[in-house]
Symmetry: C2
């Protein structure tokens, strides 16, 4: 009988703010970071489970301590019991009455739970010898339903609703799996559109993205409306009429302002407008969507939990849901969100980028395609070509599509050398850098990230 | 020219779960705790600012580290500039682009901001020689508006709306201040109604509360509907027809279940039903309220920020708003919430209890009465007789009313001896206790707290 023996945590940070300096004046100073978790066991296979919360620098230490605070719910527990009931495990982590006060189910403590739940999935998939997307896609509808916490969801999605969705998708699973393995899953790219880029660079990168096979590109907006109008026009001209053009406002607007601004950008025929306002503002998104009828509105990368996503759908607030693999309570809560989206018929276009988010979220999109919505048309996973070299099983992109992972696990494991080099503040990557960000500069900076 | 020289943090915990053992089987095991912050300066007056985030035990260390993570935004800054522009200071703390990723504006990181902002208010009020409620109540409408961050609020409340509310209240300030100083502010008590109490004890404590002058009592519900029906009937019989009877479900129900349950309890004529479901579920509260038309619905003690409160009001989701002094971003964000409530004409009945929450929130209710809504009828501040002895300026209750604080500051400062004795895990109060909660018992416990 094997047990979980340790929940190790690491503060891993990449000094990405230095590389971005000058190239993008409006974008802030993210140091892409992972509060990293490793589950160890005493099983003879020696396998470990890896997961992380993604942050953008300062506060990664807080996030690491939050993961550590879950130790009493993890260590010394029976390995087979946990891996045999990952739904129960996820519920145990959210049900700790004292820790729950720090949320409930949101922010630092909830992202910590997501990291540990995802690490358990990484371990379960490695032991099963399958990538996570395949492991879940081969479960019965009943097994998948048992993974989901329906608490606070039943006015919109009951276990019976979920079963019906999953049973409806079951007959086509084999065919869709074959297609996925053969052709992959569409990606879209954010690389051309950072705010600081010159018009020439925007044009060049947009054309390059199309040449690379991407069918949608995304650009940042929200600094100046006239400049945005010019830039979306340039981008549209660069990619031609048949490629999708999305824009991302990174929560910059109040509700009324958003509607006015979006109306100005609409002639460029936008695929969607992302994060027009606060991620918490369900009614605000609904009001914006109504005011700009015909322009698709999206949010979700900062969506705190399934209860928020439920309401976004109930309020007809979005045309597109954007899940994030490391913001909510792990695979289990994202399954709830994918089932909600399927129930309401709203497409999911996952958020990725940062460090490791592409690696994780591809599995979720593929589960959705094979076992839940059964739809890939009109969907795409965000892709940013960044920091993949630090992962043992990095994403593989070709022809603008994510290839299905084949390696057992959740593609979450970073290389030991990278973990060591980028450990904060003592890894070699940080030598001479730690004092390079004087406090006085910090408070004036704006909050904008993909 | 003086500066802030230190942001000290302490992990202070009271082993309250031991005292509750046996007296309340359904209530969980809260160890009322404070992640405590002290602002120090090099000013010759030697005054310090005190604030805290309230937690219920495990995770208080995470909360303490989160406060510490704000140090670079606080230390070495000019004292007069900060105290002269507390609105700007509060905005600086929420605007740190990297830390913002951990919320935004919710959970652990946001409560940390609240602790530091409240500590700055404690310091500002001590330097002004006034209690916080009086300091704010004597500001001009324009000064109060400058304290508020209207971002994401302007579709419901603009600075002009706020000014109008404040100017409307201005002429009556002196009269209401005099009344407050003479008669205090109504309190209600939760003491009689813990789930584990026998019928006889419930009756005895309910009658005692009325004899002590309280005009409303509150009891816990949500374990068993038949038992709840019996208990609200007993409570109503004990207090007679003229005393308010509120119930608190502590987020126990899904939406449909809540409506059914509340309908069963309604014949006892309830003052309000508190936290029927997830604090995040704006649309859920609206649906419950509609389904039980005539029974007043409340929430807010776990409300994460002003954007949530805005939507609760926009959606007609509640009859009563319950603010908490240590959950959102401090005095400033609570001013935004009080202004929103005034705009929508919804009464505010503050949450308190725990440790120090009564001490803080009384100031906010009194500001509301003097300078914002101008209304005290039908309002009351929650009161629990617990841990007040650890504060330098504890609340004073007489005749079922909070007496207005007279001591300069925010009543937030704990006694040095208490800070030492209850420091976790090395304070003397914790000798022999720290290992008394085996991990195995923890995950099974339910999450219910006032």
């Amino acid at each position: 009988m094997s047990h979980l023996t340790a929940l190790e945590t690491l503060d891993v940070r990449f000094p990405t703010s230095e590389q971005l300096d000058g190239s993008d004046a409006m974008n802030p100073d993210p140091d892409y970071s992972a509060a990293y978790a490793i589950l160890r066991t005493d099983a003879p296979d020696g396998l470990t489970g890896h997961g992380f919360a993604f942050t953008i620098g300062r506060g990664n230490d807080v996030q690491r301590v939050a993961i550590e605070a879950l130790t009493h719910l993890v260590v010394d527990r029976n390995l087979d019991e946990i891996l045999g009931d990952l739904g129960g495990f996820a519920r145990d982590l959210t049900a700790d009455s004292q820790l729950r006060w720090l949320g409930p189910e949101k922010g630092v403590m909830h992202m910590a739970i997501g990291a540990v739940v995802n690490a358990a999935w990484d371990l379960a998939a490695k032991r099963a010898g399958k990538p996570v997307w395949q492991l879940v896609s081969e479960m019965s509808p009943e097994q998948i339903v048992a993974l989901v916490d329906f608490r606070y969801l039943t006015d919109a999605l009951t276990p019976d609703d979920a079963l019906e969705i999953l049973h409806r998708a079951a007959p086509g699973r084999a065919e869709r799996t074959a297609e996925l393995l053969a052709t992959g899953y569409p990606a879209y790219t954010t690389s051309p559109g950072w705010l600081g880029y010159s018009d020439a660079k925007l044009t060049r990168l947009a054309r390059q993205a199309v040449a690379d096979g991407f069918r949608t590109i995304k650009i940042k907006v929200g600094r100046d409306v006239e400049e945005d109008v010019r830039r979306v026009t340039i981008a549209r001209a660069a990619i031609g009429p048949d490629i999708g053009l999305a824009v991302d406002a990174n929560q910059r607007w109040d509700v009324t302002e958003a509607a006015q601004w979006i109306t100005r950008l609409a002639p460029a025929r936008l695929s969607w407008v992302e994060e027009p306002t606060s991620p918490d503002d369900i009614l605000g998104h609904a009001a914006i969507r109504k005011a700009v009828a015909g322009v698709r509105i999206s949010t979700g990368e900062h969506g705190q939990n399934r209860i928020l996503f439920k309401q976004l759908l109930q309020a007809d607030a979005v045309d597109v849901l954007q899940i994030d693999a490391a913001r909510v309570g792990g695979v289990n809560e994202n399954l709830a969100i994918l089932l909600l989206a399927a129930k309401f018929g709203v497409p999911v276009i996952p958020h990725a980028g940062g460090v490791g988010l592409c690696e994780l979220v591809q599995h979720l999109a593929m589960i959705d395609y094979v076992a839940i919505s059964g739809v890939m048309d009109g969907r795409a996973i965000e892709y940013v070509d960044h920091l993949h070299e630090h992962f043992r099983d990095p994403v593989r992109i070709s022809g603008g599509r994510y290839r299905a992972p084949r390696t057992p696990g959740f593609s979450a494991e970073m290389l030991p050398a990278s973990l060591a080099e980028y450990s904060y503040p003592f890894g070699t990557a940080w030598h001479g850098h730690v004092d390079s960000q004087p406090a006085a500069q910090v408070s004036a900076k704006e909050h904008e990230n993909s």
